[in-house]
Amino acid sequence: MIADGNSAIVQLREVTKVYRQGAVDVHALRGLTFDVAKGEFTAICGPSGSGKTTALNLIGALDRPTSGSVLLEGNDLSQLNRRELSSLRRDRIGFVFQAYNLIPVLTAYENAETVMWVQRVDVAERRRRVMELLAAVGLEGLEDRRPAELSGGQQQRVAIARAIAAGPAIVLADEPTANVDSETADRLIGIMERLNEEQGVTFLFSTHDPRVMERAHRLVRLVDGNVDSDERRR
């Protein structure tokens, strides 16, 4: 589905990605085209090898397409150098990983703060924003705990706070509920839904989790590196 160019945060156009595995070329994406508009709560699903990972890597400015173009807020990522991509990830993209991937030596507070810290946001503003976000994800009182002292669900909530702390254009969430129990998963989805509704944060998930698919406002199904279906629920 192609959105109105003005409201699209992400635009993928005829994107292909070919990996070389030994002597074999693996076509991970085969002309993928779709947009993500501002404020969407979208899930990408599909079987293993359908290209979900590759699509998120490209949108997250972590990788480059073999052909086609990936635009984030109108910027063609293939035209940006290493430093510009780093700045773009810092300022415009939030990441939530399946394995949480918090920095183990930093406290919950510091992990949530780290992106704003590298952005050199004023200390008082950082503090205000982090405390507000940790409260929003239900982690008041746990600010000084390090990741090893938090449960999986708590770590993922810190990761969500970290992802949205700097006000990114989009949050890319990789299987955010894969490593937590169903009750925690429901809670995490609820937190992200609320952030989407109340703060207008745009979420794009890669998921196998039926609960995430059920509650996504839009569900894009990939098969063999291309869009098989694109269902908009709201």
Partner: protein, 417 residues
């Protein structure tokens, strides 16, 4: 912690303690390396200083004022005049503690039954003591001279034995005067010295300076050298330079290493060897630090990938690892200070008696006996050099791991989805 927020320095500090055992081992290697370097250098600084001071007190001072041709042609005809005013000039220099005039040369010693060639140093007993002339403290028989015109002669123990003389015996000494004429004097053996240095005990004699002046026909303020002593042997070059500018033509000022060339060459050789050893220690320590940091970085590639994904720049990751190595360096130096303090204090104040190793005959270089007790005493600037070198080695060892951290490919390391 929430009050302070994220800090690169704190993050680097915490990273250091993620593998406590590895960090402690690395700190131990830095501390031990610095410990070795400090003691090694301190032993040399003290040893060479002791030897140089001893050489100055046996021979011609830390700086010697003498006739411009005396160094190449040490004859009794090459004298300096106006020694009183030269001494005043020397004593006016900062760092100069003493300045004494002497006549030094070669002579023949003759008894009724034996003749021997020997070196002699004529001294003024009124201004000399053991702080300017160590040999005066090594008199084992007889007495020091009572005046500059004393009719006595002090001989090295072996030289006396070779001449077959004892205290009170008459000896005729023969020298070549400035005219080329052979002149003689008569003296009675008034003292025997035993220094432990074979060249001194077997070949040196002492005479009172005015007696020698009379024999040689010198003026009252004429001598072959003025021995200048400084409070720190490292000032010798600077004092010699300044004196050279102030003493006028016909007189040259030489630092000790131009006079005692054999000793200077010996020390230079030893110092060169020591520098090589220190460099080797530095390389070994740096290799240990490099290994620690490199393994630490390789273990955290995924984490660095995540950090880069969320916006840490390669430069920031580079700085983080460099800061970790800086912490290692600082902590290593503190550990080194802790483990070095007590042994250093002991060796500086008590020392180690090595006479059991060297045996009864003292080893000597250029007439200077090696100290029988090794003590330490590092020059402050050398301690600073070691500390800075350890820090620089630590930082250099961290550069490649830091660069590696900054080159992480997020896709390869985190495999996002």
């Amino acid at each position: 912690m929430t009050g302070r927020g994220t800090s690169m320095t704190v993050t680097a500090w915490r990273n250091l303690w993620r593998n406590r055992r590895r960090t402690l081992l690395t700190l131990s290697s830095i501390a031990f390396g610095v410990f070795l370097a400090v003691l090694f250098t301190a032993m040399q600084d003290r040893n060479w200083t002791d030897m140089i001071n001893l050489a100055a007190r046996i021979g011609a001072g830390h700086v010697t004022l003498q006739h411009v041709e005396y160094l190449d042609a040490p004859r009794l005809s090459k004298t300096v005049q106006g020694t009183d005013s030269l001494r005043v000039v020397a004593l006016a220099e900062p760092g100069v503690t003493r300045a004494v005039e002497r006549i030094a040369g070669q002579m023949m010693l003759n008894t009724a039954w034996e003749s021997r060639g020997a070196g002699f140093i004529a001294v003024d007993p009124d201004v000399e003591d053991t702080t300017t002339f160590t040999v005066l403290g090594a008199i084992v028989e007889g007495e020091p001279f009572t005046s500059a015109n004393d009719g006595g002669l002090i001989l090295g123990e072996r030289l006396a034995a070779n001449l077959g003389v004892e205290l009170g015996d008459k000896v005729v000494y023969t020298m070549t005067a400035r005219t080329g004429e052979i002149v003689s004097g008569l003296a009675r053996v008034s003292g025997i010295v035993r220094t432990g240095a074979p060249s001194v005990d077997g070949g040196l004699s002492l005479l009172p300076i005015d007696a020698v002046r009379t024999v040689l026909g010198y003026a009252p303020d004429e001598a072959t050298q003025i021995a200048v002593f400084v409070d720190d042997q490292r000032k010798a070059d600077r004092v010699a330079e300044r004196l050279q500018a102030g003493v006028g033509p016909g007189v040259s000022a030489h630092p000790w290493h131009e006079i005692q060339r054999e000793l200077a060459a010996f020390i230079a050789l030893k110092v060169g060897g020591a520098r090589f050893m220190e460099a080797l220690i530095a390389v070994l320590v740096a290799a240990g630090i490099f290994n620690t940091l490199f393994v630490s970085v390789m273990e955290r590639l995924r984490e660095f990938g995540i950090m880069m994904a969320i916006g840490w720049s390669p430069g920031r990751l580079f700085r983080l690892v460099v800061l970790e190595s800086a912490w290692l360096g600082v902590l290593g130096l503190l550990s080194a200070a802790l483990i070095t303090a007590l042994p250093y204090w002991y060796l500086a104040t008590k020392g180690i008696d090595v006479s059991g190793i060297t045996g009864p005959t003292t080893t000597e270089v250029s007439g200077v006996a090696m100290p029988a007790t090794f003590r330490v005493g590092i020059f402050p600037e050398h301690a600073v050099v070691i500390a800075v070198a350890a820090l620089v080695a630590t930082l250099l060892a961290g550069l490649y791991p830091a660069w590696k951290a900054g080159r992480v490919d997020p896709v390869e390391t985190i495999k996002l989805v």
